[in-house]
């Protein structure tokens, strides 16, 4: 008799325990956020910067109770700057890991390859570095691709203005990486130059793995270029500077921000500091309350950050931090991790006091870019650190 009761009791207890356990598990199950970025290769530093920005934001969110009562967890995948690997990683994050949203990395070709996948899967995608115009302006409706980063078409206007203004170029020549990102900037720079009444000396392309850029530079020089507008990542960007040095050509250089995604100062050597380039944020100078908070959090989490100059690349950190906080607001507003609900919530968000700026309605149904040309700052390397330049 006692055995029968005992079995019943045991059965009831087991069932209750199982239900209770599964309930706890469900409520404590983290909201997963995916990141597909270059974590290795010549742009590995960009992936590290984005990881740091996201991690600090997620720590802050979790310290305040998480989202929808659940902790937030970052799941990273290395795309190795390869569009096919990026697509595979995005599919795996969406289908297997069931992430609530995917963040993108530095490489426009990778993000461009992911765009159709996330739109088909109704998976919110947040670009935090890659600037190709058609990542967010991709023609899809509804469009699940958002961005807290620069947009090529706007950066190009700034590069032309800075090159011909502060750097004194009369007839700049373009040195562009031969991929989708380079093509996006080719169109943007030609349009911006036309708008500003500037004549371009010529356009030269290079491959990411090219080891000698002197022939292209010499061609631009022969065409009368008196300055270079550079669009490329750190390693080929460094080869451009070595090529200029080899040609003994002291032309001013203004660059898109790809060079800040790797070891540009080390690879380019003594001429690295000659390049002015665009960023969306600088940790130098007087900081807002959010800036001070984020800097302290970064220093506490990453012992290698001794001064604000050690927060490299700042653009990756800052964009990722703000983008994660904006996404968190949207998930809270949506009350769920459903992709469609998050997309609608993102398009309807109100004010957010962020790191880069105070966003008033960061996105709408027709605008999926939270930053514009007023949010760009021009900087240059001083040793390993990135500091602002005037203009």
């Amino acid at each position: 008799m006692s055995l029968t009761v005992s079995r019943r009791q045991f059965g009831l207890f087991s069932a209750s325990a199982l239900l209770l356990h599964s309930g706890i598990a469900r409520s404590a199950e983290p909201i997963k956020i995916g990141l597909v970025a270059a974590l290795s290769g010549q742009s590995a530093k960009s992936g590290e910067g984005i990881t740091r920005g996201l991690s600090v934001a997620i720590d802050e969110i979790n310290a305040n109770g998480g989202l929808l009562g659940r902790p937030v967890q970052l799941i990273r995948r290395d795309d190795e700057s390869n569009p096919a690997k990026g697509q595979t990683a995005a599919r795996e994050l969406a289908d297997s890991e069931r992430v609530a949203a995917i963040f993108g990395g530095i490489d426009s070709p990778v993000s461009q390859a992911i765009v159709p996948i996330v739109n088909a899967a109704k998976m919110p995608f947040m670009g935090v570095w890659a600037a190709a115009t058609n990542i967010t302006r991709n023609g899809a409706d509804p469009n699940y691709c958002f961005r807290v980063s620069a947009v090529d078409v706007l950066v190009d206007k700034r590069l032309i203005a800075h090159g011909t203004g502060v750097m004194g170029m009369k007839k700049p020549g373009l040195m562009l990486v031969n991929n989708g990102w380079g093509a996006s900037n080719n169109a943007g720079l030609e349009s911006a130059a036309k708008e500003a009444g500037v004549t371009l000396a010529g356009v030269e392309k290079f491959e990411d793995k090219d080891v000698d850029m002197t022939p292209q530079l010499q061609r631009l020089r022969d065409q009368g270029a008196d300055g270079i507008i550079l669009v490329g990542n750190a390693a080929p960007g460094a080869q451009v500077m070595k090529g200029l040095q080899r040609l003994a050509w002291t032309a001013p250089v203004v660059s898109h921000w790809g060079i800040s995604g790797g070891r540009f100062p080390e690879l380019a050597g003594s001429w690295a500091s000659k390049v002015h380039f665009v960023q969306t944020y600088s940790f130098f100078g007087k900081q807002s309350a959010v800036g001070t908070k984020v800097t302290k959090a970064l220093q506490a989490k990453y012992p290698d950050i001794k001064t604000v100059g050690d927060i490299v690349p700042p653009v990756g950190v800052a964009n990722a931090y703000d983008a994660m906080m904006i996404l968190a607001m949207a998930i809270s507003a949506a009350g769920s991790t459903d992709g469609e609900a998050i997309r609608v919530a993102l398009e309807g968000l109100g004010r957010y006091e962020g790191l880069i700026k105070t966003y008033n309605k960061p996105f709408s149904h027709t605008n999926h870019d939270a930053l514009d040309e007023n949010d760009y700052v021009m900087v240059r390397y001083n040793g390993e650190q990135i500091e602002p330049v005037a203009g």
Partner: protein, 289 residues
């Protein structure tokens, strides 16, 4: 424009020539092609960077140690990816050398890291300005070293006992064995020498470009094209083909842009091989029937 293209082309061309010399040596002695030769190029540069920069060894010592690493790597390739398959009469050494190259590239990635690094050198710091063109001292040294090494190899083959044994083994391995020559050891030594040649090329080129775990892939492919073009058994042909290939590459980029470089250079290789299938400098084989 032509002067800078000439300098850049000669530098790159002599690198291709040095790596291709390795192909020539091992092919002549063993009748096989070592597709891990690009990895030897990488191993030279990566080993030098790690020893000289990370562990702060004196440069001369680091260079010698890096050459030893390459030699050891050459022996490993021969022992694991060549000898067992040749012994079994199989052509699987082709895949085995490719696979071993991938293994060592990935091992280098794990040890050295995934990011490209710079190898600073006094010889590639401040260029000499000549006629408005800057030339790094290393750009002059590279073709000189390439040509000197090729000459030393040629003379070594002609005038040393090792060279004599090698030539005997190339002519008739069985007869060489009957004469008491250890052909197996000779083949292994050839792979070590070939790996050192590629490693030296990697060390020379590193200060001008970057050091990376995957730097050998493209150089290896181009050097193989050069070896075919020069004639797999003709050391001087390979060196000349290397220089010609480098010059063609640089002038194509200068005149047509880098988007056309690979199209033009590899098309020229195909056309040249269609005209001279055994390479531009190969002796015609006479087959008695």
């Amino acid at each position: 424009m032509l002067v800078s293209s000439l300098v850049a082309g000669l530098g790159l061309g002599s690198m291709y020539g040095l790596i291709a010399l390795g192909f020539t040596l091992t092919f002549a002695v063993s009748g096989t092609v070592n597709f891990a030769q690009g990895s030897s190029f990488m191993l030279g540069a990566v080993s030098l960077h790690m020893l000289a920069i990370s562990y702060r060894w004196p440069v001369v010592l680091a260079v010698l140690a890096a050459m030893l690493v390459c030699a050891a790597w050459g022996l490993v390739v021969e022992r694991l990816a060549i000898r067992p398959f040749v012994k079994a009469g199989s052509n699987a050494w082709l895949m085995a050398t490719v696979a071993l190259g991938i293994v060592v590239d990935n091992a280098a990635m794990a040890i050295f890291g995934k990011e490209p690094r710079s190898l600073p050198s006094m010889l590639a710091d401040d260029p000499w300005i000549m006629g408005g063109v800057g030339i790094y001292p290393l750009q002059i040294i590279i073709p000189v070293v390439g040509i000197v090494l090729a000459a030393l190899l040629q003379q070594g083959l002609k005038r040393t006992s090792l060279g004599l044994k090698l030539r005997a083994a190339v002519q008739n391995a069985d007869a060489a064995r009957l004469m008491g020559i250890d052909v197996t050891a000779l083949v292994a030594a050839t792979f070590a020498i070939a790996a050192v040649l590629a490693g030296v090329a990697g060390m020379l080129v590193a200060p001008l470009f970057n050091v990376a775990y995957d730097m050998g892939t493209l150089f290896g492919i181009k050097a193989f094209a050069v070896a075919i073009l020069g004639g797999m058994t003709r050391p001087w042909g390979v060196v000349i083909a290397g220089l010609a290939y480098g010059l063609l590459e640089a002038t194509t980029t200068a005149l047509l842009g880098s988007g056309s470089t690979q199209i033009v250079t590899f098309s020229v290789v195909i056309i040249a091989l269609a005209i001279a299938p055994e390479g531009l400098f190969a002796k015609r084989q006479v087959a008695r029937v």
